[in-house]
């Protein structure tokens, strides 16, 4: 572990305290000599560049849509690569600040991307460990005077070297209660975000409108976050693609008619209130599985592997969304309170 330079031979003498020069900081390692100014580097052949493109390819495959988000990740990856190359020439380079805020409607993948961000940044060589520490207000803010600071510091210590994801960050700040300890947590956060910028990445995630209010009342926080990334709503095509990948992961499949019916379902559901993008799709798929199971059990008899995997058009069409769409007042006719999310 401790790679010291070999001291001059001294026979069998015991090392004398204080006489041995301290070894150079082995954590940072010795920098190789800078490249000459007229040297050129082939970007495409860089090992890191290859890794980055593989990484971004995976990001593209795993996340459907989210073009602005991917663009930003691409930029960050490119910056980190260029920084590395600049270092090779001995050019000045400071570690970029990568604190981020993810805003967007419910179900647009903010939290999901944040959980991938740590790994991503570790593979890009920005973070050392890349672990994700996901916290909410409860984990940061204490209940009585003097409780908040140790709690917040404890969380920050655990997040060092990785990503600290503060989900629904706006709950940290409660303007209606001026003795709220959330402000204390925010101040400690700000301080660490500034002082340990290279050691951890703070990601604040939350719904756009509330984050806006949060940032307006905490301008220090807004300005310390370099990347404000807005997650757009998914289009209908993207939602269908998401449904496909979800079904694939669960090892289900839809018949062509069922797929058609599901596309119709998505259009109807999107028009309804409280539509939560991918989350609604996931819930819809969960209900499809329920209906498929009920159908199979009710039918009885012999089932094959394909029957267990297949979701039929009838399963999709049984959704209440279609009732509401056709009958207009389908929800109330069936005696359901209107506040129950349509499914």
């Amino acid at each position: 572990m401790n790679q010291r330079p070999e001291p001059a031979p001294r026979g069998f003498a015991m090392p004398r305290p204080g006489t041995v020069q301290p070894a150079p900081d082995c954590a940072n390692g010795a920098e190789p000599a800078p490249l000459p100014a007229d040297a050129t580097v082939d970007l495409g052949s860089q090992e890191q560049a290859l890794r980055i493109s593989a990484l971004l390819g995976r990001l593209d495959a795993e996340f459907i849509g989210l073009a602005p988000v991917k663009d930003r990740v691409r930029e960050i990856a490119a910056l980190l690569l260029v920084d590395r190359l600049r270092q090779g020439y001995g050019l000045a380079g400071s570690r970029p600040s990568l604190h981020m805020s993810f805003t967007g409607s419910p179900g647009t993948g903010k939290t999901t991307l944040a959980t991938h961000m740590g790994e991503l940044l570790r593979e890009l060589g920005y973070l050392r460990t890349g672990q994700l520490v996901s916290v909410t207000r409860d984990d940061l803010v204490g209940q009585y005077v003097g409780h908040t600071a140790p709690k917040t510091k404890e969380v920050l210590k655990r997040a060092m070297g990785g990503v600290l994801l503060i989900d629904e960050a706006y709950y940290l700040y409660r303007p209606e209660n001026e003795r709220d300890y959330g402000q204390e947590a925010i101040e400690i956060l700000l301080q660490v975000m500034e002082a340990h910028r290279g050691d951890l990445v703070v990601i604040l995630a939350g719904y756009a409108d509330r984050m806006e209010v949060f940032f307006r009342s905490n301008p220090g926080m807004a300005s310390r976050i370099a990347h404000h990334i807005d997650f757009p709503d998914f289009t209908r095509g993207e939602l269908l693609q998401i449904a496909d990948t979800m079904l694939e992961r669960e090892e289900y499949r839809m018949s062509p008619e069922a797929r058609e019916a599901f596309a119709e379902y998505v259009s109807l559901r999107m028009a309804q209130p409280r539509f939560a993008n991918a989350r609604s799709i996931r819930n819809a798929i969960d209900r499809l599985r329920l209906r498929q199971a009920r159908r199979l059990v009710a039918a009885g008899g012999v089932v094959a592997r394909d029957d267990l995997m297949e979701i039929s058009a009838a399963d999709v069409r049984a959704s209440r969304v279609f009732l509401a769409g056709v009958a207009g007042s389908g929800l109330t006719e069936r005696g359901l309170a209107p506040h129950i999310p349509a499914g």
């Binding site: 572990m1 401790n2 305290p17 204080g18 954590a27 940072n28 050392r128 920050l156 060092m160 951890l200």
Partner: protein, 150 residues
């Protein structure tokens, strides 16, 4: 007299970078690290004061290193020790323990001889620093302390 104890007692004092690397090693093995300090470094005084709680669930040495530095700054003229606890079944003991900070000048120990019945002798080690009250034991060199780690 330079006091040595713990895992790297035979080495010169670790630099901050080396301490950080050791913390990283301990965390990598899944050990919980703790920072302790004392101004009574008698070899039989094994229970030093804890600097905060043991740090469970850390992934990166930076967080623990900050605690070492904070402890050194808060208690100049004290010995600071890092210990790593291996909680795995069958071990459940301190896996690593080393001195991570010491006063700039250490007056050392004297050997006390006590004559008891039948001309028997008892010996004890007495730290010179312990003649002074707590918190002042290594106080005269406190302003130079904490620089050893470079």
């Amino acid at each position: 007299m330079r006091i040595t104890q713990g895992t790297f007692s035979y080495l010169p004092d670790l630099t901050d970078g080396e301490i950080s690397a050791q913390l990283g090693y301990a965390l990598g093995r899944g050990w919980a690290v703790a920072v302790e300090f004392t101004d009574d470094p008698h070899p039989r005084n094994v229970l030093w004061e804890m600097w905060g709680l043991p740090m469970f669930g850390l992934a990166d040495p930076e967080g623990a290193m900050q605690e070492v530095l904070a402890c050194r700054a808060q208690y100049p003229g004290h010995y600071v020790r890092v210990s790593a606890y291996d909680a795995s079944l069958g071990r459940q003991t301190t896996a690593l323990s080393f001195i991570a900070g010491r006063p700039a000048a250490e007056p050392g120990f004297r050997l006390d001889r006590q004559e008891t019945t039948d001309r028997r002798l008892r010996y004890s080690l007495h730290p010179y620093a312990a003649d002074r009250p707590r918190e002042e034991r290594y106080a005269e060199n406190s302003e130079q302390n904490g620089t050893q780690g470079g």
